[in-house]
């Protein structure tokens, strides 16, 4: 039996197809004009990668900010529930999930089944989100994907005094003008984002193990910075950016098998 999860965010859309043995195929695409269009495009890509048709999918769960606008899904689940479920599947010992994406940052406490116990969410302030990295990368004309490697070359520790993205941008430009090393600046930037995310996570009292997910987890410098901000070890997963879609697919599997997913449904209701 194959099932699918589709996570439509404001910036990217992800789709994952799984069977009883694990991930069959996945896809990721930049968001298009409408959530429906994004969902269709990314799902077509995943189906194509798997070599199957939509009619082969027994159940499909939609999640993410655009989840209510996906016509082809059988049910929808909250992002938080999907992220919790996906993270525990990817890292079974994880009890706290810190997900940093482009538009938001979430900290989720989960039980061994991946059900959500508590969570906190920031999408009000760009600081502590991937957008902080994007704004600075744009200002410094550096590719977002290069930030991690650049920061790892840093030899000198500097600290940004501003937490606000707008003020930090000005501060960083003057650091550049004063001749500071770009690698040192980028490391400082990673620490600024990580400190903010760690503060959010600590507000719900973190429990070990902690796993980092979201697109930002692919940045090795950010991973190190978050580890140091938390002052504890941090788990990595193979597919941080499609974690939410994995969780959605797992819930699709539950639904297809007729497993009462009451736990997850209940958690889902928390976010509405």
């Amino acid at each position: 039996m194959i099932v699918a999860g589709c996570d439509v965010g404001s910036l990217t859309a992800k789709a994952v197809i799984i069977d009883e043995n694990g991930i069959v195929a996945s896809a990721m695409a930049l968001a298009k004009r409408s959530p429906e269009e994004s969902a269709r495009a990314v799902m077509d890509q995943a189906l194509n990668n798997a070599g199957v048709a939509m009619t082969d999918i027994s159940w499909c769960v939609g999640t993410g900010y655009g989840r209510k606008h996906i016509s082809f899904v059988n049910s929808v689940e909250s992002e938080i529930a999907c992220h919790g479920r996906g993270a525990v599947w990817q890292a079974p010992t994880a009890r706290t999930v810190i997900d940093i994406g482009g538009p938001d940052c979430k900290a989720i406490k989960v039980d061994a089944s991946g059900a959500v116990a508590r969570f906190i969410y920031n999408d009000k302030c760009a600081s502590g989100t991937g957008r902080f990295l994007e704004v600075i990368a744009e200002a410094l004309e550096i590719k977002l994907d290069d930030l991690g490697d650049i920061s790892l070359k840093s030899a000198k520790k500097i600290t940004l005094s501003n937490q606000c993205v707008v003020f930090a941008e000005t501060e960083i430009i003057s650091l550049v003008n004063d001749g500071a090393e770009i690698s040192d600046i980028i490391r400082a930037l990673h620490h600024a984002v990580a400190n903010r995310a760690a503060a959010l996570a600590k507000s719900i009292t973190i429990e070990k193990d902690i796993v980092m997910t979201g697109g930002v987890a692919r940045n090795a410098g950010m991973f190190e910075a978050l580890k140091s901000a938390l002052g504890t070890d941090l788990l990595r997963v193979d597919n941080p950016q499609i974690n939410g879609a994995i969780g959605a697919a797992l819930m699709a599997m539950d639904a297809a098998r007729g497993t009462p997913a009451t736990e997850h449904r209940k958690e889902g209701a928390l976010v509405e």
């Binding site: 009000k124 302030c125 760009a126 957008r131 704004v135 501003n162 937490q163 606000c164 993205v165 707008v166 003020f167």
Partner: protein, 263 residues
């Protein structure tokens, strides 16, 4: 005796020359890279307009974020002390002052002498500060000073979903791309600005009269949106440019210092 005040801010620098409690000359310039250069330029222009030289100034006080880098002042005084005094000179009945700077928003309660009683500020987040409007004006390709007049033309103001400057900027770009009139966007921007400011003002608990100083006080859109949110009329500053409040306060303190060192 002639005294002077020089207020070096992050965006603009101001110099004021006063005599016997009356303003003789004032200058507002865009700040330069170095605060010392901004101060020299602003004060230099004020002096040359009056045909005076620095020797004619009995006492000069510096304030603003660059106050410690001004070469020609006898003393540097905090912005809060200066803004209270300046606001009281501009509007004697003022008891609550809202001052929007280039990168902060201050709210203070003052007594009838302009002494600060209570104070609160936001300088951590760009939202609700002059920087928010500066970023938005840039996105709209309009002059910062035109945002107020522009929003007066609005018929159907937009609502920005987020207070964060970064997210609001993305919102504004989207509205522009979807063809929403610039005036409606400007009105939404001014409302967002006022709503963020109102949090700080409510926080301190205001007492009448309420006045607004700083460059944003000249933005009628923000002022009227804030009046609606606070449910009161904000007393307009007419005696001088509200942006000069800090420099005026600095000059008034310079006068006190010159007249016998009471501080």
């Amino acid at each position: 005796m002639m005294v002077a005040g020089c207020d070096v801010g992050s965006l603009t620098s101001k110099a004021v020359i006063m005599k016997d409690g009356k303003m003789v000359e004032s200058v507002i310039i865009k700040s330069k890279a170095r605060p010392g250069d901004s101060a020299d330029a602003a004060m230099g222009q004020a002096l040359s307009k009056t045909g005076l030289s620095m020797q004619d100034i009995g006492f000069c006080v510096g304030t603003g974020y660059g106050r410690d880098r001004i070469s020609f002042v006898q003393e540097a005084v905090t912005e809060i002390a200066c803004h209270g005094k300046g606001a009281q000179w501009l509007v004697p009945s003022a008891r609550t002052v809202i001052d929007i700077g280039g990168q902060d928003c201050k709210a203070m309660r003052i007594d009838e002498q302009g002494n600060m009683i209570k104070f609160t500020a936001n300088d951590k987040c760009a939202s609700g500060t002059g920087r928010f409007l500066e970023v938005m004006a840039k996105v709209l390709h309009v002059e910062l000073g035109d945002l107020g007049a522009l929003s007066a033309l609005s018929k159907n103001a937009i609502t920005l979903a987020s207070a964060c400057t970064v997210w609001a900027q993305a919102d504004v770009i989207q509205y522009l791309n979807s063809g929403v009139p610039v005036a409606d966007i400007a009105a939404g921007i001014n409302s967002a600005m006022a709503s963020r400011m109102s949090i700080i003002v409510n926080n301190i608990g205001f007492e009448r009269d309420v006045v607004m100083t700083g460059g944003v006080a000249k933005n009628a859109g923000v002022v009227s949106a804030l009046e609606k949110l606070l449910g009161l009329r904000i007393k307009r500053v007419t005696r001088a440019d509200p942006q000069l409040a800090g420099a005026i306060g600095a000059a008034l303190i310079a006068m006190e210092k010159a007249q016998g060192g009471k501080s």
